[in-house]
Amino acid sequence: MKHSCERISQLASDELERKLSLTERFSMGFHFLMCGACKQYHQNLHKLHQALMLKRTQSNEKAMLPSDKRVLIEQALQTLPTTKK
């Protein structure tokens, strides 16, 4: 069965969201044999997905609550009626 590139590009995106069925994986793989453009798109999506995943973890690994913010929060907490002095 012939699949349009639009359908295959949807599967390429879905693969990042859910487990594809065997049939879906097969039709995607089969389509890639004949269509370099979709194969390329599939690779690009994975690349972008991975890059952003790395970005999320790396950029905040060492983030610390800034001291000015910490002071403001401390002040807010002191207004709590039942907090002991």
Binding site: H49, L52, A76
Partner: protein
């Protein structure tokens, strides 16, 4: 009971909570606000702390709720600004179902891309050209790292709907990045 003291929570868990919030928001003002809200409401509901998890886990649980509440509010505010979804047929030939312009090869590897600030700026700009709904779900998914289930709950869409939105967002971004980033360099 010494553990049940919000100022002590702040000094012991403040950085962890902030880091967690930063990973999701990428916005230091908002992250600090969420930490504050978390500690305040943790204190108000301190009786609900069952003691069968650590204080840190309990606080992170509250922070997660605060974050979801924030997103829900944002979405409600934006709903009036919602635009029509992008038309996916724009990218494909109606006659043979093939790409109108073929995706380019992206040479850079993910590790290099994620460190490239210029690329991140272009990507951000490209997301701004998506429809409001597409941009929102793409950002939640790829910038903030929520999974599909969480986004469905927050946005009140079905998984199928969400997957179509993400698919369209990715098609749009591919085109924009090909034009403004990958097409211009390397080759």
């Amino acid at each position: 009971m010494s553990e049940m003291n919000p100022e002590q929570w702040l000094s012991e868990h403040g950085d962890v909570l902030y880091r967690f919030a930063m990973q999701r928001t990428q916005d230091s003002e908002l992250a600090a606000d969420l930490v504050q809200d978390t500690l305040l409401s943790a204190w108000k509901s301190k009786d609900s702390f069952a003691g069968n998890s650590s204080v840190r886990t309990w606080l992170i649980g509250i922070l997660k709720h605060k974050w979801i509440d924030y997103l829900r509010k944002e979405i409600r505010q934006r709903q009036h600004a919602e635009l029509a979804d992008g038309d996916p047929t724009a990218w494909f030939d109606v006659d043979n179902g093939k790409w109108k312009d073929k995706p380019l090869q992206w040479h850079d590897d993910p590790a290099a891309l994620c460190q490239n600030e210029q690329f991140m700026v272009i990507l951000k700009t490209c997301t701004e050209h998506l429809s409001e709904k597409q941009r929102l779900v793409f950002e939640m998914r790829e910038f903030q790292g929520l999974d599909s289930d969480e986004i469905c709950k927050v946005c009140e869409v079905t998984p199928t709907n969400l997957h179509v939105l993400l698919h369209r967002a990715r098609l749009g971004l591919r085109h924009c990045l090909d034009k403004n980033w990958f097409g211009g360099q390397g080759s």
